[in-house]
Symmetry: C2
Subunit: 234 residues, 2 copies
DNA sequence: GCGATGCTTCTGTGGCCGCCGAACCGTCCC
DNA sequence: GGGACGGTTCGGCGGCCACAGAAGCATCGC
């Protein structure tokens, strides 16, 4: 029959995500942290044994990957492809009937700054992308972003080396549509590097048990001075 | 609870796609043609009444949109967001155990040139992207592409006007990872415009009942002369 | 008007799958 | 060692949902 990337395989993986418990687990893993089975069970709101079943399925389908460490087993998103698919589904889910979710304090923290798999999201990320674009470090198109030569130098000065691998067309930068802001922000290799660097510089800190990020004093200063991004306006 | 883009909503839409029949329908619609319920029923391999049920669900979730015309009802993908999600899931599904699908002649035609929702895909699309990048009309990054000033002029000469809407950050061009080539090609507004223009110029023709495209003689000439893309090498 | 066609709604049936209780296996700590 | 704890496997139950048969409702042709 006509379809041969076998729409059936698409259905398989979509069905895998299309279960409340598993979607919650994957969603939790989108925070970028590797989590143990128990933590995932709590996130999903089901018993450990049920969780275990789900995890084996996700493992077989290579949607998540496993790392053992002593008696703990850490699960994480298996690949950026998976993260992208989840991202696309989030955007889709965030559309629709525009439900009025009451904005609690926790949600407010998430809207302000959070991780999205391996990069920044939230108002901070959108503001950062805008600020860098304004200074000519990146060019942002629809679903697309490129680092300029100037931007490359700027990032190098900030401690991020974009290895100049031979093929000029390779490296760089994607954008990722933020469900809370409905605006693009920087993802891809550059996005991941920015998050990492800001964590090691202690500009930002992960909150335990949440995708939300705290902006530390050093971060407020650094973002304002180096990135020309006044954090208090976020 | 922690998750609040409600992973449950993600699960809902994923589950919607995660059914073989519905996935086949959506997959068929990814060809870019609007299809009738009957055609979709045939694609999915189920009876019309079952199809009807699926379609109401897809409609409610706004994954597909409906256009009535006499006693026919034409269904199409509702938005680019949906198309992107499907695209991401295809990439994911195409990964994995790398099954050996025997490559039939039909599949070969698809690998060569086909539509992907509203733009080109297959070797033709990848080659086109490469050729345009080589001539400096676009810059292609990872998951990202931008049209240069030169490219803008080139496209204008080819009959594609990229309206310069005020906000400089808006328009342009995405890339889309091709499952068959595992390489990016041009999507977004530019990708759609290129496909449209080549269809109206009769460079390409849609095949009935398939996503595959035929490259017409005028297309062979034009692609070689204007885009510097020798089609016979695809 | 008539029937034919395209599509839908209604209804019942069947199967798959997510769920938990219980038991089992491994790792850590003292 | 023993015991606690993190994880997994097994078995049986329950509910949801995709499916087709039959009937209903539009639109087309004559």
């Amino acid at each position: 029959m006509p379809n041969f990337v076998s729409a059936n395989r698409i259905a398989e993986v979509a069905a895998l995500i299309g279960d409340a418990a598993r979607a919650n687990m994957l969603s939790a893993l989108m925070g970028g942290h590797a989590l143990t089975a128990g933590e995932l069970a709590r996130h999903a709101g089901v018993t450990p044994q049920t969780t275990s079943g789900h995890l084996t399925k996700l493992l077989e389908a290579e949607l998540v990957a496993l790392e053992r460490q002593g008696r703990h087993r850490y699960y994480r998103i298996a690949s950026t492809e998976v993260a992208q698919a989840m991202q696309a589904l989030m955007s889709l889910a965030a559309e629709g009937p525009r439900r009025h979710y009451p904005v609690g304090p926790r949600e407010e923290a998430l809207r302000r700054a959070r991780t999205c798999y391996d990069h920044l999201a939230g108002r901070l990320a959108v503001g950062l992308a805008d600020a860098m674009a304004a200074q000519g470090f990146v060019q942002i198109g629809e679903g697309a972003a490129l680092v300029t030569g100037e931007g490359r130098r700027f990032l190098a000065g900030f401690g991020i080396a974009l290895e100049e691998d031979g093929r000029a067309r390779r490296p760089l930068c994607r954008t990722c549509l933020d469900w809370s802001e409905r605006r693009p922000h920087l993802a891809g290799r550059v996005g991941a590097a920015l998050l990492q660097r800001m964590l090691t510089l202690q500009w930002l800190a992960r909150r335990p048990d949440s995708r939300a990020l705290r902006i530390l004093p050093a971060g407020e200063d650094g973002l304002a001075e180096i990135f020309r991004l006044p954090v208090d306006q976020l």
